[in-house]
């Protein structure tokens, strides 16, 4: 009978303690830099290798490229879209990207909307997504082939 009473002490002790909940819209959890949030895209780093499209398990990335004006051998990105309706934020696109053109930010909010079409984000939105993450803004593009797969 008296072991039961000990529990009252526990709850009363918690009653006095500092509260741990976060008042969400005013306070926000700071996610670690590795957090797999909404992507950011660097158009000038992209070499249009199409690996992210191939590796995407949910087929939500679409892109098109065009010939570069300065160097006709090179391709530059023209359109780049991610449909966040289906994106599972698995990180494979950033993992295979040889130039770190597509990276993930710690952004975890502001994707909810009443409209499915709004989840479709284009190159402009993705490149303007200035949120910190596990990347360096001005990092020099690594040599292609250092990470992931290059055909």
């Amino acid at each position: 009978m008296f072991r039961l009473l000990k529990g009252f002490g526990v709850t009363l002790n918690y009653f006095r303690q500092k509260k741990v909940t976060i008042q969400y819209p005013e306070e926000r959890v700071a996610m670690p830099p590795r957090y797999r949030g909404i992507h950011r895209f660097f158009p000038d780093k992209c070499i249009v290798c199409n690996l992210c499209v191939q590796v995407c398990p949910t087929d939500v990335i679409t892109l098109t490229g065009k010939k570069s004006e300065e160097n006709p051998k090179k391709k530059v990105i023209e359109t780049y879209n991610i449909d966040f309706q289906g994106c599972i934020l698995c990180d494979f696109c950033t993992e295979v990207c040889p130039t770190d053109a597509i990276v993930m930010t710690a952004r975890y909010n502001n994707l909810s909307s009443f409209n499915r079409a709004e989840h479709f984000k284009d190159i402009k939105w993705l490149s303007d997504n200035h949120i910190y993450g596990n990347y360096e803004e001005s990092a020099p593009a690594p040599e292609a082939g250092e990470r992931g797969e290059v055909k």
Binding site: G7, T11, Y14, Q17, K19
Partner: protein, 319 residues
């Protein structure tokens, strides 16, 4: 003229009760929230003061849904039958030396008799909803409330024997005359009373009739909107009533040092009891039906009887 006073008293009591229930709910949510390391409601008004008001507004503005296969008349009647007695019993409560409704000779009897009617509302609500969870909840509720009424009454009998009156005011005056609260000579009765009161109120850990993890919501599963509000109101008003009764019988009613008026003491004591119930809810898991019944019949009733025997002996011995 007297009728006007009675009506006025009733209206004021109702208004005060509604306000008190509003803040009892807030108080409960705050207390449990604090015990669970969260601040509780804090969005409506400062410190969440308007939270319950918002909830009530929502309930009142909701569409009135009566299930298609429900027994309509009974379904509509049930919340009223549940609520009216819980309010009616406040007529007999004496808040302080000079604030009271009816100075009934059989106050205690009236209180216990009227409060039992609420069970009928529960049964009607559960039965008429035509929902299996409601039915199970109602049957559990009735079985539980009726079983625990017995130890409740028996525990109170000790006080009655000691005081020699069923009148609430006499009981308080008696405590004044002997110079101590009856919780001391009647401690066993107080414990039995508090435990059976929890069961009577369907509060945790004896909230089986509305055990949300098992029976979804028990007897009021199908209720929504203001009918649901009535059930909730009945529950909280009843909680206050039982706390008021405990205050009167065991904690000396309005008695207390003179720097505060009697009615404040009364409410303070009630609040302590109500806090205790919230504390229980934050701490204990729900009991099992069979254990609950066994505990009621095999532990509480014998204890209450024992208390009566001891009290009678003391009474006779002391003359």
């Amino acid at each position: 003229m007297e009728l006007v006073y009675i009506i006025l008293y009733a209206v004021i009591t109702l208004a005060v009760l509604l306000g008190a229930v509003t803040y009892a709910i807030l108080f409960e949510r705050k207390v449990i929230g604090y015990m669970q390391l969260r601040p509780g409601p804090n969005r409506h008004g400062p410190w969440g003061m308007l939270q319950t008001v918002a909830d009530v507004m929502k309930l009142l503005m909701k569409e009135d849904i009566i299930p298609k296969n429900a027994d309509k008349k009974v379904f509509i009647l049930a919340p009223i039958i549940a609520f009216v007695p819980s309010f009616a019993i406040f007529a007999s409560i004496s808040w302080s030396d000079n604030i009271y409704g009816a100075d009934l000779n059989i106050g205690l009897l009236y209180f216990i008799g009227i409060s039992s009617i609420t069970t009928l509302g529960v049964l009607m609500g559960g039965w008429s909803s035509n929902n299996k969870y409601s039915l199970l909840g109602a049957i559990r509720g009735v079985a539980q409330v009726i079983s625990y009424e017995i130890p409740l009454v028996l525990s109170v009998l000790g006080v009655v024997i000691l005081v020699g009156s069923l009148n609430f005011r006499d009981i308080v005056y008696y405590q004044e005359s002997i110079g101590m609260w009856l919780i001391i000579p009647q401690f066993l009765a107080f414990v039995v009373y508090m435990i059976s009161a929890i069961a009577e109120l369907n509060r945790s850990p004896f909230d089986l009739p509305e055990a949300e993890s098992e029976l979804v919501s028990g007897y009021h599963t199908e209720y929504s909107g203001f009918r649901f509000a009535f059930f909730m109101l009945a529950e909280y008003v009843y909680a206050y009533a039982i706390a008021a009764l405990a205050t009167t019988l065991f904690l000396g009613g309005w008695l207390g040092p003179a720097f505060l008026p009697g009615i404040v003491w009364f409410f303070l004591k009630m609040s302590v009891i109500v806090f205790f119930w919230f504390w229980l809810r934050a701490t204990l898991p729900r009991a099992r039906v069979d254990n609950l019944m066994r505990f009621g019949w095999k532990v509480l009733i014998p204890l209450a009887l024992l208390n009566i025997v001891i009290t009678s002996i003391i009474k006779v011995w002391m003359g």
